[in-house]
Symmetry: C2
Subunit: 147 residues, 2 copies
């Protein structure tokens, strides 16, 4: 079996963020990987669904749990292009995610501005991979929105 | 038009919690009211849907936003039988809920143990109505689970 790298998976999350961009959604993408296999892909759909809870991470967790038929994602890794908000960190807590890799930080709405303890104590957090590319996509989106 | 009281609406939320109890879900119910009319009713369905995000509040917000065709619930009140967790408080923040009335406090997982500021600054919070009845239902549920 081919073993994929973290950067491969983050790039897959970036592809989801780019789909969100094309669909006029705030461009955030998330994927969930279990034993080197992508089991869920999602992008922010709050506008399309008229639903503030339809963040990429929430949709990805729902989808991954359905794929596994299990409520806990302790063996799974999430790759997400933006630091999760408080709501999504809370969802990651309940899912007991094994690892979270996020690209860009979110100084305004990211969970870590409140407390690192919003996540499950066993969740490993890594950040910064492809952060510049993710931030550029977000900046481009808000520039497009203003014009 | 008949004007209903807060206790009427909280009792409707309790009815949803009792349905959850019967369906072997942690018994939490939530309703959302807009201009004196119930526009969403939900109960915790995490087991049935195998989805940790399927808390009563998340389902109620999704449903209310669909009913109104709007992402913001600034004119709405949520009545929920247990203090929202961090995830649900984050969802209430994004929805900019006008008011949240919760019955029982949740000293272990309630949002207020982290920070009152998880909610939107304009959201009015009231608590304690029917708290005993809600706590009793939860205690009965966990007693049933242990047996």
């Amino acid at each position: 079996m081919e073993i994929y790298s973290d950067s491969y998976f983050m790039n897959e999350a970036m592809k989801m963020a780019k789909i969100a961009f094309e669909e006029n959604e705030i461009p955030v993408g998330a994927i969930i990987v279990c034993r080197n296999k992508i089991i869920a892909k999602a992008y922010n759909q709050t506008e399309m669904l008229t639903d503030v809870t339809a963040h990429a991470e929430i949709l990805a967790i729902t989808s991954a749990e359905n794929a596994l038929g299990a409520k806990y994602l302790t063996e799974c890794k999430m790759y997400v292009t933006l630091e999760p908000c408080v709501m999504c960190a809370g969802a990651c807590f309940w899912a007991q995610l094994g690892e979270i890799h996020y690209a860009a930080s979110d100084p305004k709405r990211g969970f870590s501005r409140i407390s690192e303890n919003l996540l499950h104590p066993r969740t490993i957090v890594k950040s910064g991979m492809m952060a510049e590319e993710s931030k550029q996509l977000l900046d481009d989106f808000f520039k497009k929105l203003r014009n």
